[in-house]
C-alpha cells in the first residue's frame, strides 16, 4: 500500500514530476535528523485505489540543500519554506525564498527543529520589516487588520490593498501561534502522544487523533478490529456535524441574520452534549485511542433524525431569505483551476468543483457499503461552500446511522498490544477530517517512543486560496468569505 524509494537528491525533481503528472498529490513533506545527517521524506498520495508513495532523500550534513519542487507543485513550495525555517534545509532556486513559519523575533540562524537547537532563546532583534507587497496607484490605500481582532478569534494579520471598497490584494500574515508541537511529540510514548494530537487544532480532535493513531498502528503493524474502525468512522462524522452546523450559523450571523445563528448554535450545543455522552468530552476527545476506540454511549437514531430535520429547516430558511442568498451568491469566487493549482482540500475544494475526499481515496474502513456520496458544487462562491456544508451534514447523518449499527455501548475495543520493535516503524495516517484531508506521518524508535511526528492540517493547503478568492471582492465581504473558508490558525502553525 505504501511504497518507499530511497533516491538521490538529484533525482528528486524528475521523480516528483512523474508522480504529480501521474495523478498523485503531495500530501506531506517531513524533514528528519538521522545520525547520518538530514533526511527529507516526500509523501505523494493518490486514490482510489489507495496509493501512497514516499521519496526519501538524504542530504549532506554540511550543506543541507534540496532542489525546489515549487515549480511543480505550489504546496511543495510552502512545505520547503516551512522546512527551511524550522530545519535550515535550503530549497535551491526557490521562487519565493521568504520566511514562512519563522517568527521574526527568533535569532538569526536558530532553527528550532534541529537536534542542537536547545530551549527557545529569548526574543532577539527583529529581522527587518515584513515584506508586504505595496500596491500603488490613484486612490489605493491599505487597511491593516489584526493580529488582535475585535472578536474571539485566533490571531492573524491581514493587509488589504484597496481602491474604494474593492480589494486589489490581500496579504494574510499568519504564524503567530507557533507552539512547537512537532518537537513536543519527540520522545513521547505513543499513549502520551495522543493528547497532543487531539489538541493540534481544538475543533479537529477526532481528525488529528485518528490520523495519528492510523499512522502509529501502521508503524507498529497493529490490526485494528472492524468494530473499532466503525466507531472511529462514526466519531469522525460527529465531529464534522457539530463543526458544520456552527459554520452554517456563523455564516448567517456574518450577514446580520442573527436568529438563524441563534438556532444553529442551539443545535450545536445539543450535538456537543451528545458528544459528551458518547465519548465523555464535548469535543470528542478520548474516543479514538491507539489500537482501537472507546464509546460511552451511542447516539439515538430518532434523535439524530430530529436534529437533521432541525438543521435542514435552518438551511432552508437561510437559502430562502433573499438578502442572505444574495450576499452568498457570487461572493469571493475560487475558480476550479485556481483551487487545483493551490492544492485545496475539503469543502473549499469541493465547492470549487474538485471531488477529492480521503474517505474515498484512502478509506480506513469500508465506506462504499455505507453509501457515501460526496457533494460537489462548482461555482466556488460562498454559497457553494455553504451548500457543500449543508449537504455534507445529511451525508454525515446517514453515515453515523450506518456505522452505529451493530455497535454496542459502552464499549472499548482495543487491538492486542504491539510487541515492541515489530512492524515497519514508520506509518502514515490519512483521514478526511471535517476541514479536509489531513495526513500524519510517524516514525518510531526501537523502544516504541516517537522519534518524529509530522501532522499536516488541511488549513496549511487552503490558506493561500483565501487571498485568491478575495481578489475583486469588496472589503465588507471579507469576514463572510473568511468564515466560509473557516481555516485553522493553530493547525496551520504547529
Amino acid at each position: 500500500m505504501r511504497t518507499t524509494y530511497d533516491i538521490d537528491v538529484t533525482e528528486l525533481p524528475l521523480r516528483a514530476a512523474e508522480l504529480l503528472t501521474g495523478g498523485h498529490r503531495l500530501a506531506l513533506v517531513a524533514a528528519h535528523h538521522d545520525e547520518s545527517g538530514p533526511r527529507v521524506v516526500y509523501l505523494f498520495v493518490a486514490g482510489p485505489p489507495d496509493t501512497r508513495t514516499e521519496l526519501h532523500v538524504r542530504l549532506d550534513p554540511g550543506r543541507p540543500e534540496v532542489p525546489t519542487l515549487a515549480h511543480l507543485s505550489f504546496p511543495a513550495g510552502r512545505f520547503e519554506r516551512e522546512m527551511r525555517d524550522l530545519f535550515g534545509i535550503v530549497p535551491l532556486d526557490h521562487p519565493l525564498p521568504r520566511r514562512l513559519v519563522r517568527h521574526f523575533h527568533w535569532p538569526r540562524g536558530w532553527y528550532p527543529m534541529r537536534p542542537d537547537a536547545g530551549p527557545p532563546p529569548p526574543f532577539g532583534e527583529q529581522e527587518g520589516p515584513y515584506p508586504f507587497l505595496e500596491v500603488e496607484g490613484d486612490g489605493v490605500y491599505e487597511i491593516p487588520v489584526g493580529p488582535v481582532h475585535a472578536g474571539l478569534i485566533e490571531p492573524g494579520h491581514f493587509r488589504f490593498s484597496v481602491v474604494g471598497e474593492t480589494i486589489l490584494k490581500l496579504k494574510a500574515r499568519l504564524w503567530f501561534v507557533h507552539k512547537g508541537i512537532e518537537k513536543l511529540f519527540h520522545g513521547r510514548s505513543i499513549a502520551a502522544g495522543l493528547p497532543l494530537a487531539e489538541r493540534i487544532s481544538g475543533d479537529t480532535a477526532v481528525g488529528h487523533a485518528l490520523a495519528y493513531c492510523l499512522a502509529v498502528e501502521e508503524a507498529n503493524g497493529t490490526e485494528v478490529p472492524t468494530e473499532a474502525q466503525r466507531a472511529r468512522a462514526m466519531l469522525l462524522e460527529l465531529e464534522r456535524l457539530h463543526n458544520h452546523v456552527a459554520d452554517l450559523g456563523m455564516l448567517c450571523n456574518d450577514v446580520g441574520h442573527g436568529i438563524l445563528n441563534a438556532h444553529a448554535q442551539r443545535v450545536r450545543e445539543q450535538l456537543l452534549r451528545l458528544n459528551a455522552e458518547v465519548t465523555g468530552h464535548r469535543l470528542l476527545r478520548g474516543g479514538v485511542v491507539p489500537g482501537g476506540a472507546a464509546l460511552h454511549a451511542l447516539p439515538d437514531r430518532a434523535w439524530l433524525k430530529a436534529v437533521g430535520e432541525d438543521i435542514r429547516e435552518i438551511t432552508d430558511l437561510a437559502l430562502g431569505h433573499s438578502t442572505v442568498h444574495d450576499r452568498f451568491t457570487g461572493t469571493a469566487i475560487l475558480r476550479t483551476d485556481a483551487a487545483r493549482t493551490i492544492g485545496c482540500l475539503g469543502y473549499v475544494a469541493r465547492a470549487s468543483g474538485l471531488a477529492d475526499d480521503a474517505r474515498i481515496a484512502h478509506p480506513f474502513t469500508p465506506y462504499d457499503e455505507a453509501g457515501l456520496t460526496v457533494p460537489v458544487h462548482d461555482t466556488g462562491d460562498v454559497l457553494a461552500r455553504f451548500l457543500v456544508r449543508a449537504e455534507e451534514i445529511d451525508v454525515s447523518l446517514a453515515l453515523i446511522k450506518h456505522f452505529a449499527e451493530g455497535l454496542s455501548a459502552p464499549m472499548a475495543v482495543l487491538a492486542p498490544a504491539p510487541t515492541s520493535g515489530a512492524g515497519p516503524r514508520t506509518g502514515v495516517g490519512l483521514v478526511e477530517g471535517w476541514r479536509g484531508s489531513m495526513a500524519t506521518r510517524v516514525e518510531l524508535a526501537p523502544d516504541g517512543t516517537l522519534t518524529r511526528v509530522k501532522p499536516v492540517d488541511p488549513s496549511f493547503f487552503n490558506w493561500p486560496a483565501l487571498p485568491v478568492a478575495l481578489a475583486d471582492t469588496i472589503v465588507p465581504d471579507f469576514p463572510l468569505t473568511n468564515k466560509s473558508f473557516n481555516l485553522s490558525y493553530a493547525g496551520n502553525d504547529l
Binding site: 490605500y141 491599505e142 487597511i143 491593516p144 487588520v145 481582532h149 475585535a150 472578536g151 471598497e165 448567517c252 456574518d254 450577514v255 446580520g256 441574520h257 442573527g258 436568529i259 441563534a262 438556532h263 442551539r266 431569505h321 438578502t323 442572505v324 444574495d326 450576499r327 469588496i474 472589503v475 465588507p476 465581504d477 471579507f478 469576514p479
Partner: protein, 318 residues
C-alpha cells in the same frame, strides 16, 4: 404659557437623553427574546455608560480638535434638535424656530462631526467608516428633507410644529397616498441614519463590515460614552419625530400640565412600540451588501419624491 412651555422643552430633552439608553436596551431585549436568548436587560446601556464614564479619558496620539470635539458636538446637536422638534408639545417657546431645514441640518452636523473625527483619527478604519457614512448620509439627508416636505405641502409651511398641528386637526392628510409614501421613505431613511439592519449591523464585532462603529473605533472611556449616548439619542429622536409626524395623536397642542403629562406617557409608549417593531423587523432581516445600500436608499428617495409630487397634485395646493 411660559412655565409649561419651557417645561415641555426641558421635558423633551430629558426624556430623549434619559430614555435613549433605555430604548436601546429595550430594543436589544426584544431582539434577544425573539431570538430565544435571555438578553442583558433594559438597563444594560446605562450600566455600560456608567462603566465608560469611570474610565480614564484617552485620545490617540496625533489626533486634533476634530476628534476631541466630535462627541460633545454630536450630543449637543442632538440635544438642541430634541428641544426643537415637537415630541411632547407643539406649542413651546422655541416652536417657531423648529424649521424642517434647521432640524435636518443639525442632524447632518452631528453626522459630519463624527465623520471628521473618523478621518482625524488617521486610521484606515476611521477613514473607511467616514467614507461609508458620508455615502449613506448623502442619500439619507435629502430623503428626510423630501419626505417631510411632502407633509409640509398641505400645511403650507416647513415649520415642524405647524405640520404636526395640522395633522392632528386633519388626520386624513396622513392616510393620503402622499402621507403613506412619505412614511415609508422616512422610515427607511431613519434606519439608515441610525445604522440599523439592513444598512449597518449595530451588534457586529467584524470591524471590516462596520459603518458607524468603524468611525468611532478609536474612542474610549467617557468620550465613547458620549458617542454612544449621542447615537442612542439620535435613534430616539428620529423615532420620536417619526411618531410625531405620522401618529401625532396625544401630543400636547395647547398649554396645560395635564396635556403635557398625557403627551409624555403617550410619547414613551409610541417610541417603545416603534422600537419593538424595529427590533422585531431586524430579527427577520439580514444586512444587505454594502453596494446595495445606495440602491435601497435611492429607492426610499424615490418614494419621498413621489410623496412630494402626489402631495402637490392631490392636495391641489398652489
Amino acid at each position: 404659557m411660559s412655565a409649561v412651555g419651557y417645561a415641555a422643552v426641558v421635558g423633551q430633552i430629558v426624556v430623549v437623553g434619559a430614555g435613549a439608553p433605555l430604548l436601546t436596551g429595550w430594543m436589544r431585549q426584544v431582539r434577544a427574546r425573539l431570538e430565544g436568548r435571555a438578553g442583558a436587560g433594559v438597563l444594560q446601556p446605562w450600566r455600560d455608560a456608567r462603566k465608560l464614564l469611570r474610565k480614564e479619558p484617552i485620545t490617540p496620539v496625533g489626533t486634533g480638535p476634530a476628534f476631541r470635539v466630535a462627541p460633545a458636538l454630536l450630543v449637543a446637536t442632538t440635544v438642541v434638535t430634541a428641544g426643537l422638534v415637537p415630541l411632547l408639545s407643539t406649542d413651546t417657546p422655541v416652536s417657531t424656530h423648529a424649521d424642517l431645514i434647521v432640524v435636518v441640518a443639525l442632524i447632518a452636523l452631528g453626522t459630519l462631526a463624527l465623520a471628521l473625527a473618523g478621518l482625524d483619527s488617521g486610521t484606515a478604519f476611521g477613514g473607511m467608516g467616514a467614507s461609508r457614512e458620508m455615502t449613506v448620509a448623502a442619500l439619507v439627508e435629502p430623503t428626510i428633507l423630501l419626505s417631510v416636505f411632502a407633509l409640509s405641502i398641505p400645511s403650507g409651511t416647513t415649520n415642524l410644529p405647524a405640520i404636526v398641528d395640522g395633522a392632528v386637526d386633519e388626520p386624513a392628510r396622513l392616510a393620503s397616498p402622499a402621507g403613506l409614501l412619505a412614511t415609508a421613505a422616512l422610515a427607511v431613511a431613519v434606519l439608515a441614519e441610525t445604522g440599523r439592519i439592513p444598512v449597518d449591523n449595530p451588534s457586529t464585532h467584524l470591524e471590516l463590515t462596520m459603518i458607524h462603529e468603524a468611525m468611532v473605533l478609536e474612542y474610549a472611556g467617557p468620550d465613547l460614552a458620549l458617542v454612544e449616548l449621542g447615537s442612542q439619542m439620535r435613534l430616539t429622536l428620529l423615532l420620536g419625530l417619526l411618531s410625531s409626524l405620522f401618529v401625532p395623536w396625544g401630543i400636547a397642542t395647547d398649554v396645560s400640565w395635564a396635556a403635557l403629562a398625557v403627551a409624555l406617557v403617550l410619547f414613551a409608549a409610541k417610541v417603545a412600540v416603534l422600537g419593538a417593531v424595529l427590533a422585531a423587523a431586524e430579527v427577520f432581516c439580514a444586512k444587505v451588501r454594502l453596494f446595495r445600500v445606495p440602491e435601497l436608499l435611492a429607492g426610499s428617495f424615490l418614494l419621498a419624491l413621489l410623496a412630494v409630487t402626489a402631495s402637490y397634485f392631490l392636495s391641489g395646493a398652489s
